[in-house]
Assembly symmetry: C2
Homo-oligomer: 150 residues x 2
């Protein structure tokens, strides 16, 4: 059921990396964070606890697929995971590769910036995205297929 | 295995609400956020994807127990979930009840404050904690027992 006026019901919300019936993964272009993805649950539900147990597990395993592809290909210092939704109460997970050189590290991306992200490093990670996203989509596809079979 | 110098290996990290072999739930006293909890995985692992699938599921279901108790008893505007660990790379989930009157809403708690949280509202939510935490512990106990049985 789509919710009128909800930006995640009315559009993909970013560059689509993978889409299945239950969820999709998008890349979002937040300046200085070259590997910032979101796992969006397609149905308009506000909180993780609104999902049935099997759907919660699928949603979190999708988050883990994104995290794993980021760790393998971009070798970040950390992965940040967050489901906030204070402005858009439609369940979506931020999955963000964090680097020691990024504009906010070690602060959360929502805190004030500490420095300018170096363009060369941002470009280096951005160049990894085609391979990274192909691997991410492959893992997500396997996950989605297993969820259909189960 | 404990990691020397890690604050979540060397201490509980807050007021203990529930502890099992694999994880614990603590309440943290962050000014103006009267219902701010953390689910801490007891073993020192940095990221969610470092856990085995069954452990990931247990960890996330513990997060959901905390979320559910917060929603039932405190009726917040939103629940915020986050695993960041930029400063303490030991897997822990922030589970935060957010209210429209809180100091940062609708911004994340890591953004600059927008107002002072009204003391009466903070005190009202704080007064709900005994019952809320008893229910939270009961749910977590059931979850932990099922994980031992399974």
């Amino acid at each position: 059921m789509k919710q009128a006026g909800c930006p995640l019901c009315e559009s993909a919300g970013g560059d689509l990396v993978f889409e299945d019936a239950a969820f999709r993964v998008i890349r979002t272009d937040e300046g200085g964070f070259p590997a910032f993805y979101r796992v969006v649950w397609n149905e308009h539900v506000p909180e993780l606890s609104d999902l049935a147990p099997a759907d919660r597990a699928l949603c979190m395993e999708a988050v883990v697929c994104v995290e794993r592809a980021l760790r393998t290909h971009a070798q970040p210092a950390r992965i940040n995971l967050a489901a906030l939704g204070n402005l858009v109460p439609h369940l979506h997970w931020h999955v963000i590769a964090r680097f020691e050189w990024d504009s906010h590290f070690p602060a959360p991306v929502w805190a004030p910036a500490r420095r300018e992200a170096p363009a060369a490093q941002v470009a280096h990670v951005a160049a990894l995205r085609p391979l990274l996203q192909a691997d991410m989509a492959r893992q997500l596809c396997t996950l989605a297929a297993a969820s259909h079979a189960g």
